[in-house]
């Protein structure tokens, strides 16, 4: 394992400290643990909290700021944060308008956030939440836990965050968050694995000519392994699945070409070149494009494509001012 780290047990802690020290005007760390909140609390608005395991940087701490999140809770690498940690975050940001949780659909995340919400409710804080599940690599059926929440979650942070900042009520924030969840789909692929520092070994292995199609953001296996193909061919495989899941035809969309941490921007742009061409060909109008590392998997060499079908409300909120370390508008 070759990494620029110190003690593996200190990775999450030092990472959060380094983030807060980089952006002292934006961020503050709670004393009680790896919870990042806005440097200046904004009263009177619905407060947004999200989080999950560490290893997805800049998610989630990088999206704390005006127009986006109020708090981000960072668990151990790839491990959901604990209820008491989430509760501390909720208590630090809670206002009379209530607290809204953006939770990615993983058994661990859902259970821990739910427990935290139960505890917060007992302390008189109203809490609502949305569960994101944009990953079309996984079947959504009544007999499974449904799709995974992946990079599309960022659109929920941005759009729900903007509505909260504008003074939307807890119900309104929940409604727009759910609308984003209903309209965003994502799929990814990877050619090199990532290594959880505490594990010391890659989470999976791929042959020199192999890639994993439909990879999860924790290195979870996807739909299948395939011979490594050209960027255009790989992009086609992902786009086909995404576009089959929602009818995007004739609509305006936001596109996110998200890097997994070890993928150079050069390759993300090459991918976006083809995404743009394919969507143009299909008559799907790209309203906004985001290219870069938003929801990573430590140093995994992979990427995902997210496509969000927009309406006027979502367009306005997507463009609304934001000032978080990793998203400025």
């Amino acid at each position: 394992m070759k990494k620029f780290i110190n003690e593996t047990s200190q990775v999450e802690n030092e990472m959060i400290q380094g983030m807060v020290k980089a952006y002292p005007k934006h961020l503050k760390k709670l004393d009680c643990g790896n919870v990042v909140v806005r440097a200046t609390k904004k009263e009177g608005k619905v407060a947004l909290i999200s989080g999950g395991g560490s290893g997805h940087e800049p998610a989630h701490g990088g999206f704390v700021g005006t127009g986006m999140l109020d708090a981000a809770v960072a668990g151990a690498v790839f491990t959901s944060p604990t209820p008491d940690q989430i509760l501390e975050g909720i208590k630090a940001i809670a206002t009379d308008a209530g607290v809204f949780m953006v939770v990615k659909n993983y058994t661990g995340d859902v259970m821990n956030f739910e427990m935290a919400a139960e505890m917060a409710e007992m302390e008189g804080i109203s809490v609502k939440h949305v569960v994101t599940n944009d990953d079309v690599a996984v079947k959504d059926s009544l007999y499974t836990v449904g799709r995974r929440g992946v990079a599309g979650t960022l659109f929920v942070h941005k759009i729900a965050g903007a509505l909260a900042e504008k003074g939307g009520s807890l119900d309104e924030v929940q409604a727009v968050a759910q609308k984003v969840v209903d309209n965003v789909r994502t799929m990814g692929a990877a050619i090199e694995p990532c290594t959880v520092p505490a594990a010391g070994e890659p989470g999976f292995t791929l042959e020199e000519d192999e890639m994993e199609i439909g990879i999860g953001i924790h290195g979870e296996p996807g739909t299948h392994r395939d011979n490594i193909k050209t960027a255009d061919e790989t992009t086609d495989i992902l786009l086909t699945q995404i576009l089959a899941d929602i009818d995007y035809s004739g609509s305006e969309v936001a596109v996110m070409v998200n890097g997994s941490g070890g993928t150079p921007l050069m390759e993300l742009f090459i991918i976006n070149n083809h995404v743009a061409d394919v969507l143009a060909e299909k008559g799907i109008k790209v309203y906004r494009t985001l290219v870069g590392d938003y929801m990573t998997s430590i140093e995994m060499k992979g990427f995902s494509i997210s496509i969000l079908k927009l309406d006027d409300e979502m367009k306005e909120l997507l463009d609304a001012p934001a000032d978080a370390p990793a998203w400025k508008e």
Partner: protein
């Protein structure tokens, strides 16, 4: 069967076993999960260890509740709320007790396993820890009139049989469920960690 002191001794032994099997449990979590089950469990039971000295003179209920709270607040992931709820509810069932017999033990286990079912909304054959928990509990209940050693021996056997069975089935809960058919052939980490825990109890009493 066991007093507070014994319970603490067992918890210490569980901690050592989990630490010993940390890498193996993590490895099991690789093909069908995210390679952290051993790390999560070891982090949690490591924290439990630190609290045991202060619990020496407490009743079994308080001990188990403290373990539950510690697991909830340090393990994270899916196993944190699950094992955490199990110990929390077990603690409630054992409230005030300073001794437990086989009957008490089986009731406490029943409550704990119900807590896992409630929190995780899973049933048998979904390739989770329940596939070791439920059959082991049933096996133990069937022998309830025997002595503790015999009861637990049956339970451990059934638990490991359940672990074996997880290899043959498709996961429909937890992270492994994302794999669908590809989850077949792999052993469930949570069922395995539970079986180690029961094994330690069986060895210690």
């Amino acid at each position: 069967m066991a007093d507070s002191k014994k319970v603490i001794q067992i918890l210490r032994a569980i901690g050592s076993k989990i630490e010993e099997e940390k890498d193996y449990l993590t490895k099991l979590d690789q093909p069908i999960g995210d390679s952290d089950h051993g790390i999560n469990m070891a982090r949690g039971f490591g924290e439990v260890e630190k609290k045991l000295d202060d619990l020496a003179d407490k009743d079994i209920g308080t001990i188990l509740k403290t373990v539950g709270m510690t697991l909830v607040s340090t393990v994270g992931g899916a196993s944190g709320p699950l094992y955490g709820s199990a110990f929390l509810k077990a603690g409630m069932a054992a409230a005030g007790k300073t001794e437990m017999n086989v009957q008490d033990f089986l009731e406490i286990m029943d409550t704990a396993i119900q807590a896992v079912q409630q929190r995780g909304k899973a049933v048998l054959d979904e390739k989770t820890m329940l596939d070791a928990m439920i059959p082991s509990l049933e096996a133990m209940k069937a022998e309830a009139s025997e002595d503790a050693k015999t009861v637990l021996k049956k339970g451990v056997e059934a638990a490991w049989k359940g672990v074996e069975h997880t290899k043959d089935i498709i996961a429909t809960k937890g992270r492994a469920s994302y794999l669908g058919e590809r989850s077949i052939g792999h052993q469930d980490p949570g069922a395995t960690s539970y079986s180690y825990i029961l094994e330690v109890i069986s060895q210690q009493i």
